[in-house]
């Protein structure tokens, strides 16, 4: 079920700053399970699921829906298009990739000026070879990488857009499970790749009793990796600290207690170099209780981010267990 959902979300393009197609796919898929929809000027998609009876509080759940992209800035050398990069991928990481325009579907290949050393490559050395002169995109159109989702032994999955699509699939599945005793505001966040721009605005728009992010965190269990707390296959990583925030003990405890009670193996995410949407959420308005759970991922900044499906399912289960405790917010 979740695997098909992931595939469905993976098949649409979600360039950061141009997430229209993702919004459409998500609204189509969730349809009537959501009580109220809205979109803001940044492109965030808000999906509210109301409680069965009186609300025991408002819980904001966010998942990023955007992926790194190229934006067309010059078309005077057709069929070669000049671009700027958006999001976390280095310019050199785009070389040789097949890309697709999120609005026209036109495909091209990323070339690089030949005189440049790979370590010196910037966006200004790249171009999209659109091959033919047909379907010329306008300036400002986005392209994203076309790479199929790859399964390894049915348990591991890799693909460049996984860092947004897996969180979206988890949030979708939570919203599809129906009403709880809370008002759940699901936010499919736009422009997360650009520094939590969508989450910043969402944190102002939704006055929540608790905000939790569903994101990914780098598994540092590879040869000569930086020291870190998170392993692939080690279960959901409950955020304790990242570059932008230290999670309040009561928020973290609500998650760890839930995991223990539900016999879900978990680990703690302590990564002082990684960023997340949680950092802007807890600073929004007059301060908002916030935390997060992250799915471990190897190679998040390369062509093939890799995840363990068991971690994905366990992350979703942890959220469902939390949301089905009717009283936990009262202990806050």
């Amino acid at each position: 079920m979740m695997k098909e959902l992931l595939q469905k979300l993976y098949d649409v393009s979600g360039p950061t700053g141009g997430e229209d197609a993702m919004r459409k796919r998500l609204t189509d898929h969730l349809g009537p399970s959501v009580d109220e929809w809205s979109v803001d000027s940044l492109g965030n998609l808000y999906a509210v699921v109301r409680p069965k009876e009186t609300s025991h509080g408002v819980i904001l759940l966010t998942a990023p829906m955007d992926e790194p992209a190229l934006v067309v800035i010059d078309d005077r050398e057709r069929p070669y298009l000049r671009v700027e990069t958006l999001g976390r991928l280095a310019a050199s990481a785009w070389i040789g990739r097949t890309v697709q325009c999120s609005r026209t579907g036109a495909r091209g290949i990323i070339g690089v000026e030949s005189e440049i050393k790979s370590s010196d490559v910037t966006a200004h050395h790249l171009f999209i070879d659109l091959i033919t002169d047909r379907d010329q995109p306008e300036l400002g159109y986005f392209f994203t990488a076309v790479t199929p989702l790859t399964w390894h032994d049915e348990r591991y999955v890799s693909g460049p857009a996984l860092t947004s699509r897996v969180p979206c699939a988890i949030l979708c599945d939570i919203l599809l499970q129906g009403a709880t005793s809370y008002t759940i505001v699901g936010v499919f966040a736009a422009q997360s790749e650009l520094g939590a721009r969508g989450a910043r605005v969402a944190g102002h728009s939704v006055k929540a009793d608790l905000a939790l992010t569903i994101q990914t965190t780098e598994a540092l269990d590879t040869p000569k990796a930086e020291r870190g707390t998170v392993k692939l296959g080690g279960g959901p990583a409950i955020k304790e600290a990242d570059r932008d925030m230290v999670v309040a003990p009561r928020v973290r405890a609500a998650l760890t207690h839930t995991a223990k009670a539900a016999s879900i193996a978990f680990q703690l995410e302590i990564n002082l170099t990684s960023r997340s949407d949680a950092g802007v959420l807890f600073l929004s308005r007059d301060g908002m209780p916030a935390g997060g759970v992250s799915v471990p991922v190897r190679y998040p900044n390369a062509q093939s981010p890799l995840m363990d499906w068991n971690d994905v399912i366990a992350t979703r289960d942890l959220f469902l267990s939390l949301l089905h405790q009717p009283e936990f917010l009262q202990n806050f």
């Binding site: 000027s41 800035i73 050398e77 000049r82 300036l139 400002g140 910043r200």
Partner: protein, 341 residues
């Protein structure tokens, strides 16, 4: 337009008082309410009771400048830039220093005294100093104090074919356009904000947007134009004389596509040339305005400025005029409900 007086006024980031006083004087006859906020931005409001969407127009008052951070025994001043300045362009430039606006020249060790390896490297800030003609520390201290600021001394001048040069078109050209727009009879609730501290991190515009809560925002900016030597076509950003530039993306904003498309359509309908800004680098007040509170639909109209952030900046007066025409045409369109939001 008030280009000469505005560009020659003294306005380092955080010290915009002279520019603010000048704008307040000019705006008063057309304003219903004028406020200076806590950070120093000047907020001019018109048509407060008018129906229709409230539009925030913003231009920043501050310019790239310098702060005096030390006075040597021989009367020379040590300084640091406020805002982004390339230290390589500074040597031999004339400045106005401190509240008395005394002249100073940026100096460096003479070429014949530089060691061979020094000659190969551009001069860094620590090798530069400001010479105000004082021979001793005490003499210098009678004219300037640590913490005083300085700006380039360039005067406004028109030259060539409809060109003008001055020190601070970024963003006094935006200020001049906004002041002119205040004179028009536009039936919308309008906020013209002259913001502070843009050059050091878009600091002034956020509180302005928070206070005024507009439905739409339009930022008027001077933007980078490098259509001269040795630039690849896609590195030039904008072309001088090709019309005001609209933003696709910059380092702080992905433009709101429908609003930009609307502005472009208005330009086409009115025969006003526009171009797209073909670079991601740089940013303007929109970077903070569009993220304020629950998000604000915003766009920028930028005037190409050659040699931006340098002592002599250059604009094409047709671009200035066309940016003004475009702004007014967009406001007339919004008046008629042309862009529902």
């Amino acid at each position: 337009m008030l280009l000469k007086e505005l560009t020659e006024a003294f306005g380092p980031s955080g010290f915009e008082g002279e520019v603010r006083d000048l704008i307040r004087r000019e705006a008063t006859p057309f304003a219903e309410r004028i406020t200076t906020d806590t950070l120093g931005s000047l907020i001019v409001e018109k048509n407060l009771q008018q129906n229709g969407p409230k539009v925030l127009l913003a231009a920043h008052m501050d310019e790239v400048s310098f702060m005096i951070v030390g006075i040597e025994e021989n009367g020379l001043l040590r300084f640091r830039p406020i805002g982004g300045v390339d230290p390589r362009i500074l040597v031999s430039k004339v400045l106005l220093v401190g509240s008395k606006r005394i002249s100073g020249v940026i100096g460096a060790k003479a070429i014949h005294l530089q060691k061979p390896e020094e000659r190969k490297k551009p001069l860094g800030l620590s090798q530069l100093f400001i010479d105000i003609g004082a021979s001793t520390k005490a003499e210098a201290e009678s004219h300037v104090a640590i913490g005083d600021t300085a700006v380039f001394a360039t005067r406004y001048e028109e030259y060539g074919d409809r060109r003008a040069k001055a020190k601070s078109f970024d963003d006094r050209v935006g200020c001049a356009i906004l002041l002119e727009a205040l004179k028009e009879d536009i039936k919308l609730p309008l906020v013209a904000a002259f913001t502070v501290q843009e050059e050091i991190g878009l600091r002034g515009a956020g509180p302005v947007a928070f206070r005024t809560k507009p439905d739409f925002a339009i930022v008027l900016e001077g933007t980078v134009c490098f259509d001269v030597v040795d630039a690849p076509a896609h590195g030039e950003s904008t072309i001088l004389g090709a019309g005001p530039a609209l933003t696709l993306v910059d380092s702080r904003t992905v433009a709101h596509r429908p609003f930009r498309a609307y502005v472009k359509q208005v330009a086409e309908e009115n025969g006003i040339p526009v171009q797209m800004r073909r670079v991601k680098g740089g940013s303007n007040d929109n970077g903070i305005i569009h993220l304020t509170e629950g998000g604000i639909v915003a766009t920028s109209i930028s005037v190409p400025v050659r040699y931006i952030h340098a002592p002599v900046q250059s604009v094409h007066l047709d671009d200035v005029q066309n940016a003004y025409r475009l702004l007014i045409s967009v406001l007339r369109g919004l008046e008629k409900g042309g862009f529902p939001g």
